[in-house]
Structure formats: C-alpha cells, structure tokens
Symmetry: C2
Subunit: 295 residues, 2 copies
Amino acid sequence: MADAVMFPRVAFVGIGLIGSSMARVLRRDKLAGSIVACARRQETLDACLKLGIADAVTTDPAAAAENADLIVIASPIGTNGDIARAMAPKLKPGAIVTDVGSVKRAVIDAVAPHVPKGVHFVPGHPLAGTEHSGPEAGFAELFQGRWAILTPLIGSDPAAVEKVAAFWRAAGSKLATMDPDHHDRVLAITSHLPHLIAYTIVGTASDLADDLKQEVIQFSASGFRDFTRIAASDPTMWRDIFLNNKDAVLEVLQRFNEDLTALQKAIRRGDGDALHALFARTRAIRRGIIDAKQA
Amino acid sequence: MADAVMFPRVAFVGIGLIGSSMARVLRRDKLAGSIVACARRQETLDACLKLGIADAVTTDPAAAAENADLIVIASPIGTNGDIARAMAPKLKPGAIVTDVGSVKRAVIDAVAPHVPKGVHFVPGHPLAGTEHSGPEAGFAELFQGRWAILTPLIGSDPAAVEKVAAFWRAAGSKLATMDPDHHDRVLAITSHLPHLIAYTIVGTASDLADDLKQEVIQFSASGFRDFTRIAASDPTMWRDIFLNNKDAVLEVLQRFNEDLTALQKAIRRGDGDALHALFARTRAIRRGIIDAKQA
C-alpha cells in the first residue's frame, strides 16, 4: 500500500482566493485523497470543477463536512457560526476543523460552541492575500514565505494542531502560535486599520467633483495607487472583519485619530520641526521590517 | 562639427534621488555637454563625482548657475526661494530654470520673483520616486512611463517650455501641462494626503508598547508593509511639501476626516450595510486606474 495521504477527504466551506489557493497546494503536493468544495453560488462551484481544484461540489455545508478529515472554513467571518452549526451533526470523530479568518476571537466564539466533542478545532490565519477574489484568483504559491498564525484553544489536541501546521509548512508558510486576543490586536494595526484608511481615502477621492476625479485617476502617483490596490479587496470579507474586530479596531483608530490631529495642527501652524521629527521617526519602523525580512 | 548637445552646460542645485536620476538620463543620452552639481554637503558632492554623474561640484548655487544653459532646482521646496535669489546675478540671458517640486504654486511664488528678465523659468514635477533618497538612489529609468507635469507661467517662452519637455520625453515620461493651483489640488489627494496618512499610521505603530511593536513588525501584513514603505520617504522633502501646500492638504484632510468619522460610526454601530456600500464603491476607482494604465 502507498503512503497514506495527509487528509483522505478535505472539505472547503467557502472557496475564494484563500480556499482555492489551499486546494491548489493540496493538489500539487498530493496531500488530499479527495476535495469537496462548498459555496453558496453555483457559479463558484462550477469554477472549482473547471479549475480542477474540487472533485465534488455542494451548496450544503453539512454534506461537505460529512466524512471529511479536514474541514476548512474559508468564507467571510460573519458566516462562520452558521456554517459550524450546520456542519455539527455531520462532523465525524477525529475530524479537524480549521479556518483562515483575519479575526480570531470572534470566530472562536462563533464556531467553538458548535464543534462536537471528539472533533478538533484549530483556528488559523494565513497572512497572505491579494486584492483579487474568487477561486480563479488563487495560486499555490500564495503562502510561500508568509506567516501562518495558529491560535489553538486551551486543551487543543497537539496532534491535530500539528497536522494543520504540517499543511502550512507544505504551503511554504512560516508558522507562529499566538493568543487569539493578542492576534486580533496585532492585526488591527498591521492590517485592519490600513485597510480602513485605504478604503476611506479612496472613498474621499471618489466623492470629488468629476473633473478633479478624472485627474486623480490619471495622475495617481505611487501613494494613492497603493491605496487603491488595498481598497479593491473583497467588500464582504472586510465588512465582516470590521464588524468582528470592533474593539481592537476602534481602539487603534482612536490612537490614529489623535496622531492625525496632532499632525494636522502642525501643518496648520507651520510647525516644520514637529513634522520633520515624526517623518524621521517612522523610518526606523521601516528598517525594522526590512531587517525582519517582511519588506 | 557634430550635432550640438541639447544643453551645453547643466547645473543641478540639489541632487538627490530625482536630480541624480535626471543627470543619469542626460549622461545616457548625451544631452549635456557638462554637468555641475551643487549641494550643501560635501559627502553628497563626493558621491556625485564617484558616480560619474557630475563633472564639477560646488556648494555655491551661484557658481553652479554661472554660464549654465539649464538649471534644475532639485532640492527640498523650502530652499528654492533662497537658491533662486542666490543664483539670480549669475543666470545668463536665455538660460532655462526648471524645478521638480511636488508643489507648484509655492515654488513659483518663491522662485519667479528672482528670475531675471531674459531667463526662462519652467516649473515642472515628475510624478516618480521611490522611498530611497540621495544621489546613490537614482537611476535613469525612474521616469520611464511616468507623468511629467509642466506648469508654465503666463507668458512663458514656448521654446523654453519645449526644451524642458524634450528632456522629459527623452527620460521616457508622458507629458502633461496644468495650471499650478490645480496641480496642487490634484497632488494633495493623490500623493500628499496618502503620505500624511502613511506617516501617521506608522507613527501610531511606533508608539505601541514594545512587545506589541515587535509583533507588528514581525507580522506586518501587506497593508501596513505598503504604508511603511511610503512612510520611509525623505523627511525634509515631505516636511516642505506639507508646509507649502498647506491649504490644499488641509482641505482634503478635512474631507478625509469626515469620511473616516462616518466609517468609525458605522463600525461602532455595527452597520454592515454602510461598510459594504463604501468598500464596494472604492473598487470602481481602482478599475479606473487600471484602465488608465497607472496601476
């Protein structure tokens, strides 16, 4: 008999950029016996079959979860609780449920209560993505060299955590383990606030009078261009992130507002020293990121 | 006799990323007979000689300008008026003075009064740059495919404007002509506000408690990483931009603040519809930029 595959049967509930990229990794490395994809829209499921990243498709999370060894919840965070509730009766003992959400506390609170005894829930979050969405946008190399953060629960089965970690290592990710609440605070500043700001500034631009707007598009210099790329990310996914990491985002947003007000005052007063001091200080953070090889 | 070069003698007053990239274009295309570089710091001048982008160097703007056919002011905006005053007595009739500042009205107001009759001032702004600074950071391809905006004065000599335009075409730039005040409003939103926001958010991060800050650096996801790159730009250059485009920046900052407050309220109230509506809307701007081939 050949070596057993890592996961005889894998189910993706939600299969967009992230889920389909994970499915491609499973296919490439032959880590899954079979893959079933679950999505609400038939169009998404047709795309998965056409792309060859699923062997079977369904719109029913319970049907997808039945007999699966690994279930990946990869849909917008707001749906995760309902999905877990729907799947619960069909989850087989020893199955592993994981997710990929950008917020961990809210997902754990929504999903964990529905996970039956004997089934292992290993919350996860790959720090990877592009501004594109849908299963066609995925690619197996998306996670290469990027962090995958796991936030295991107290009492999580170490063997189950290790199996999820093994998948991410196969995907080329660097692994880290964090407390869920700490994860949410870190991500609020590294990812959620930047997206919120980018959405805001691009929204401000789209309210400009038409003639000015045309020129803003035509002459978008590097700063604004970067923001529009960030602000082109999936709206439903990001709505759910902000609704589910409200406290951490509002806290960091308040600090940001205070700092912005101080800068605004410095500009109004023509206080060049204050401006220069801040602008010089931020270079140090960039150097730290370059040293950490995240640039 | 061989074809006459475009500019027998070119002077750069200030020669960092932009100036040195322009000098490299002049060298590559043999557009200058000789190049003189002027900077305050001997270290910068030594670098120019070592890089072979200047034939002569000086710390005196007047000495640099003497007998020059083209004088490029490429130093932080706040210095431009003093530079113009210092150069004025040495500018020869028929010489062309241009600049590369990200703000046009304030530069024109500071420089134009010092430009003698018979000398042509053609204000310009290449929409190009990187987060690196200094003459070593320059490269001849920096302007390739990027916009160069000229904001000629009423009564500017068309032949002088055309000579500056010819340089930018040689550099590979696309050319546009704009009214200076309009330029400043467009740049306030496409470039100045994004930089201000990036500086703010990175500053907010650098005020975090040390343990959190380390993780922000370690796990900087795409959003924050992009911001740190923007916020690593030259502090003196950006201080001067904000001091000299105060009105346009404060106006657009006020709109931004109103929009951010509305988003903050939507998050606090859990108003998912409002969040989704904004996040979907901003995708249209991104599509416009992709269609305009600025992405």
